[in-house]
Symmetry: C2
Subunit: 398 residues, 2 copies
C-alpha cells in the first residue's frame, strides 16, 4: 500500500488561517470544516436528508466509539456492513477513540499502562478499553478517519501529572498505530472502499486513515514534546486533544496559537471538541482545519439558537409574537419557514419539533460560518471577515 | 357570497366506495384522504418539508382547537396571521371544534346548555367553551375547514343518554352555524384567501368551510335523526363523530355502513378519529371520504410500525441484526435508507430519530394506502384491492 489513506492539499492561506481540500475515500472535504457530532450513530434530532441538503451540506460527521461499542456493539455494526451502512450515510465518518469518554467517567474508571478499565454507564458491566481494542472497534465501525487512543489530563493538571499523561498517550499512540496497521492488513476495516471513481480520490488507498492526538494540558513545552513524539510515530493527520475541558479560554487559544503552526503543514489539523462559533473562527485564525462540537445540537435541544448576532434563548417571552426568523441573516430551511413565535410555542409545549428545528438552524449556522470562513480565506479577506463576524455575534439579538 | 367555500366532485364509485376531488381554498384534495394530526400546530416529530415530500404528500392536516386555544392562544396565532402562517404550512388545514377534547376531560368539565366549563389541563384555570367561542377561535385560527361544536356520548351510552346528547349537539350545531356565518361576514377569518389562481378553485368563495357532526352513539335511529337534523341546518360537509370511543369495532362498522350512504352524496363525508389501516379501507368501502387519526404518529413514537404485512414492534430482539427496511413493499424515504437493526438501535437508546423515522414511515404507509385506495376505486378494482390489502396486513411481519 503505497497510496495514502487521506490527502490534504493547501489551497489558500491568510495569515495562519488556511483553507484546503481534505481528500478522503468518501469524497473531498473543503477545510476548515465543522463536523456535526453523531454520538450513537445519529446527529441528534436530525435526519440524514437534512444533513445532506444544501443549507447544511455536512460532508463529514463524527461517531463515538465508546457509545457505539456499548450500544449496539461493534459486532452488530460490523455484521450490518459497518457504521456507514448501519446508519445509512455514504459521506465521510470520523470516529473518536473512546479515550475521552472513558476518561470522563472519573471515579468509574481505572487507568493502567495496559488501558482503561471501567463500568459501562449502560448496564454497569466491567469493560476494558485499550489502544488495541479501540483500533479493533474502529475497524469494525469502518470509519474513514480513526483516532488514536489517548489519555486526557484535566485542564488544570500540574506539570508532572500532565507529563505522565502525555507520555502514556505517546506510548498508546505507538500501540494504536501498530494495531491499526495490522488490522488494515488483516482486512478488518468494515468500511473499506475498493476504488473511487472520482479522479481526485484515485490517489487514495481506500483504507482508513489514522490521526494522532497531541496532549499536554496547558503546558506549552509538554504540548511541543507531545507533538514531536506524535509526528515521529507518523499519522495521516494530527489533532489537539484535552482542550475545552475546563481550562480558561485564553489558555485554549494560547495552546492552539503556539502548537497549530508547528503541526505538519501538509496534514490536516483537528481541534477536538471545540467550540462556539467565535472559537471556531478564532482557532481557524490560529491554523486549525477541522472541528467537532456538540454545542449546536445540544444547545438546540435546550432552546438556544446561535445567530449572527449572538445567542437567542427561544424561551424568552419577548419572542411570543415575533414573526421574524431566528436569524434574519440566515437562509436555512428553518429560517426561511418558521418564526420565533412558532419555535417558542413548540419549545414551551415540549414538542419534539422544537429540538429538530433549533438543531437544524444551529447546524446551519455553524456549517455556513465555516463556508464563509473558507471563502474569506480564499479571497484573502479573512481578517475583515473575522472582525465583522465577532462584532456581529457580540452585538446581541434584538 | 354565492360561491361555495368548498366543493366536492365525485370522480368514481366502486360499490359504496367513492373517490372524488375535494376543492378547498388551498388546493384540490383527492379523496378518500387521510389527514395527519397536528394537535399543537405540529404533526409530532415531522417537519413540514417531510409532509410535503412526494412519499408523504399530505394535502391537509388537522389542528386541535382546544389545544391551540390554551397554548399559545388564539390571540397570538391571529396576530401572527392565522394558523397557516403561524406554523408555516400553506396547504389545507382542518380544525376540530374542541368538543371532543373537552368531553374527554371527564370529571374536569361541566356541560350545560350554554356550553362546557372546564379546567385547563395546562394551568388549571377555569375556561368556558361554547359553540360561539369555538367558532371564534377557529376563525382566529383561520383553518380552511371548521368543525361545528358538538357533544359526544360514550360508546356504551343508553338510548336516552345518547338522544339527549344528540339533541344538544343539534342545538349547538345551529348556534355554531349562526356564529360561524356572522364571523365570516365580520371578516374575522384569519385565513381568508382573496382569490385563487388555479381554475379549479375559481368557483370558491375563499371563505372557511363549516362541517356538521352526526352523533347518536351506537343507536342507528338516533344517528339517522342526527343526520337529518344536521343536514336540515345545512353544512359544507358532514362528519361522523363519537365513534372509536370505546365501542366494539363491529358497532363502528355498522354505524358507518348504515349512515354513510344516507349522507348527502355531493358533500364530503368525514369519519372523525378513525383508525387503523384496516379501518380506513373498511370505512372507505362503506362510503367515507375523509379520515384523521393519531395512530401513525402516536404509535410511531412508541416503537410500532404499520406495514403491508401488519404491525411491527421495533423493540423486538429479532430485528437486532436485520438489515431489511421496516416494510419491504414500502418506498418511503425511511424504508429506502434505514434498516430495522438501525431503527431498533435508535429506539433502544432513546434517540429522537427513532420517533422521527417511525412516524414518517407510518404516515407514508397511511397516506400511500389511501393513494392506492383512490387508484383502485378509479380503476374499478377496489374489491380486489380490499381483499388483498386485508390479507396482507393480517399475514404477519416476518
Amino acid at each position: 500500500m503505497n497510496k495514502k489513506a487521506i490527502g490534504y492539499e493547501l489551497i489558500a492561506r491568510d495569515g495562519q488561517a488556511r483553507s484546503g481540500a481534505l481528500m478522503t475515500r468518501r469524497g473531498i472535504i473543503e477545510t476548515p470544516v465543522f463536523m456535526p457530532v453523531g454520538t450513537l450513530g445519529t446527529v441528534k434530532g436530525t435526519r440524514f436528508e437534512a444533513l445532506e441538503a444544501t443549507d447544511l451540506d455536512a460532508r463529514i460527521i463524527l461517531g463515538n466509539t465508546y457509545h457505539l461499542w456499548l450500544r449496539p456493539g461493534a459486532e452488530i455494526i460490523a455484521e450490518c456492513g459497518g457504521l456507514h451502512r448501519f446508519i445509512g450515510w455514504e459521506r465521510a465518518l470520523l470516529t473518536d477513540s473512546g479515550g475521552f469518554q472513558v476518561w470522563s467517567l472519573g471515579a468509574l474508571r481505572k487507568i493502567t499502562e495496559e488501558g482503561t478499565e471501567f463500568r459501562s454507564h449502560v448496564d454497569g458491566s466491567l469493560r476494558f478499553l485499550s489502544p488495541e481494542v479501540s483500533m479493533e472497534v474502529q475497524a469494525a465501525l469502518g470509519s474513514d478517519i480513526v483516532m488514536a487512543f489517548d489519555e486526557c489530563a484535566p485542564g488544570n493538571a500540574s506539570h508532572e501529572e500532565a507529563r505522565e499523561s502525555m507520555l502514556l498517550t505517546a506510548r498508546w499512540a505507538r500501540r494504536s498505530r501498530s494495531r491499526f496497521c495490522a488490522l488494515q492488513k488483516e482486512d478488518m476495516d468494515a468500511g473499506h472502499v475498493d476504488k473511487r471513481e472520482s479522479p481526485g480520490d484515485a490517489q487514495l488507498s481506500g483504507a482508513q486513515a489514522l490521526f494522532g492526538i497531541v496532549q499536554g494540558a496547558s503546558h506549552l513545552e509538554l504540548r511541543r514534546e507531545s507533538l514531536e513524539r506524535t509526528v515521529e510515530i507518523g499519522f495521516d493527520g494530527y489533532a489537539l486533544g484535552g482542550l475545552s475541558v475546563g481550562e480558561e479560554k485564553s489558555v485554549m487559544y494560547s495552546v492552539v496559537e503556539e502548537i497549530a503552526p508547528l503541526m505538519p503543514p501538509d496534514s490536516p489539523r483537528y481541534l477536538m471538541g471545540v467550540g462556539t462559533p467565535e472559537d471556531l473562527v478564532e482557532c481557524v485564525a490560529r491554523g486549525i482545519d477541522m472541528f467537532d462540537c456538540v454545542l449546536p445540537t445540544r444547545n438546540g435541544r435546550t432552546g438556544q439558537a446561535f445567530t449572527s448576532r449572538g445567542k437567542l434563548n427561544i424561551k424568552n417571552a419577548q419572542w411570543a409574537r415575533d414573526t421574524r426568523p431566528l436569524d434574519e441573516a440566515c437562509v436555512c430551511s428553518v429560517c426561511r419557514r418558521h418564526s420565533r413565535a412558532y419555535l417558542r410555542h413548540l419549545y414551551l409545549t415540549g414538542e419534539m419539533l422544537a429540538s429538530i428545528l433549533l438543531t437544524h438552524h444551529n447546524l446551519a449556522f455553524f456549517l455556513d460560518t465555516m463556508r464563509r470562513v473558507r471563502q474569506a480565506i480564499r479571497s484573502g479577506d479573512f481578517t475583515r471577515f473575522r472582525r465583522e463576524f465577532l462584532e456581529g455575534v457580540n452585538s446581541g439579538v434584538a
